[in-house]
């Protein structure tokens, strides 16, 4: 295939993936990896390497805004990043080892399963918008894993308190592992750890999760980079496309309160998941 044609095709697809990914809150990686591997025949590790680079870009870009607004909780994020970065290092090493052992099917199947599971949070919320009567555990009391923010929709200051830190750490370690293993942000699992696990308000969970994704992805990117799996010819169009697409995607997400629009895209995700499963078996 002509390199320029290929480059532009990947760039355009990455733009759509970035838009759809940020609209669904899943990130562009979950769409880019299946597209590159199944439709363009790119080896899985190169697709994962290109995707994880775009994950750092989109997370850092949006985290920049969230930190300024003061809703993302830096302390809670930092504390849990110990778990996500550890998981990410293990995930990256594991996926490289699997691919080198010729067990790429395992990576495909895991990807399909994770993609199917990530649809669940889109169907209904697992956490609470504003949890009440939260009693801190020993760790969150000692580290003051609490905070406050001004809720512009409710027009009031919201005070919150984290709890069940060990559970949060455990889910975050799994989130990091999946991020490193599959080259995705695994934001859905991070949000789960924060809202359903540590009972933080929805807004704090989603912004803190986003804030953590970049550092988590950085922990595996160095490994993929030195392993020779970040190919500039793939990483460049994927990173630029996903980043550009996430800008309008986030804008639509902020404007639309209607979740039915988001649900309309669920079949696409399910289809990609099934494709990955079939490819791996």
């Amino acid at each position: 295939m002509d390199p320029l044609e290929f480059f532009l095709l990947v760039l355009a697809t990455a733009f759509m993936a970035g838009m759809l990914g940020s609209l669904l809150g899943l990130g562009g990686g979950v769409i880019m990896v299946p597209f590159l591997t199944i439709f363009l025949g790119v080896p899985p590790l190169l697709a994962i390497g290109a995707s994880i680079v775009s994950v750092i870009a989109t997370s850092s870009g949006s985290a920049s805004a969230y930190v300024r607004e003061g809703i993302a909780n830096l302390r809670i994020g930092m504390f849990l990043e110990i778990a996500t970065t550890t998981g990410a290092v293990i995930g990256a090493v594991l996926t490289i080892a699997l691919a080198r052992a010729g067990l790429e099917g395992v990576v495909y199947v895991t990807f399909g399963v994770v993609l199917l599971l990530s649809v669940i949070p889109l169907l209904g919320r697992l956490g609470e918008e504003l949890p009440s009567f939260v009693t801190p555990d020993a760790i969150s009391r000692r580290l003051e894993l609490s905070g406050e923010y001004y809720d512009s929709a409710l027009k009031e200051r919201v005070d919150y308190q984290a709890t069940r830190s060990p559970l949060g750490l455990a889910i975050m370690c799994a989130a990091g592992l999946i991020s490193g293993l599959l080259g995705i942000g695994s934001g859905a699992l991070k949000v789960l750890a924060l809202d359903a696990g540590m009972r933080l308000p929805m807004k704090v969970s989603s912004t803190t999760s986003n804030f953590m994704i970049g550092v988590t992805a950085a922990a595996s990117t160095g490994i993929f980079y030195l392993g020779g799996y970040i190919n500039p010819f793939l990483a460049a169009p994927v990173m630029m496309g996903v980043l550009l697409g996430s800008v309008p995607g986030t804008r639509i997400l902020v404007r639309t309160r209607n979740s039915s629009i988001r649900k309309a895209f669920i079949p696409i995700i399910v289809l990609l998941a099934v494709e990955m499963l079939v490819h791996g078996v």
């Binding site: 850092s60 920049s64 930190v67 990256a92 950085a218 392993g227």
Partner: protein, 132 residues
């Protein structure tokens, strides 16, 4: 939010923003050079399949990248953009450490130092182990 905290948060926000913008600009410039010159700087462009299959070992380090930049090799420019991107979250962690130091939250200085250590270990210890 205290004034010190607000200042640090503004700094973190700026680093993240301009890190991503600088990285994007470099990657875009490198991509442009790739197609204008018709070569990666290490081998001719050829077909898309050849570019995907090519082992990019020349790019797995700062020293070869720096040498490539001297002669404006397209791949080296893209690579610099990717390294800037990788450095962006790492810089965010470093700034956070100073924020916690300023707030005298020493437990968090230790937590942040641990995260920084894991990041540096991944790049300087684990990475070279999987290097081809």
């Amino acid at each position: 939010m205290t004034e010190v905290e607000a200042g640090f948060k503004a700094a973190i926000s700026l680093v993240l923003r301009y890190g991503v913008i600088a990285s994007f600009a470099l990657v875009a410039l490198g991509s442009l050079l790739l197609f204008l010159k018709g070569q990666t700087g290490y081998y001719p462009v050829g077909t898309a399949e050849q570019l995907i299959d090519a082992p990019n070992r020349v790019l797995t380090g700062l020293a070869p990248m720096a040498r490539g930049l001297e002669s404006a090799k397209p791949y080296a420019v893209i690579d610099l953009g990717l390294v800037v991107l990788l450095a962006t979250p790492v810089a965010r962690v470093v700034i956070s450490m100073f924020l916690f130091l300023g707030e005298k939250r020493y437990a968090f200085v230790a937590i942040t130092a641990t995260v920084l250590a894991i990041l540096l270990l991944s790049i300087f210890v684990v990475g070279p182990l999987v290097s081809p």
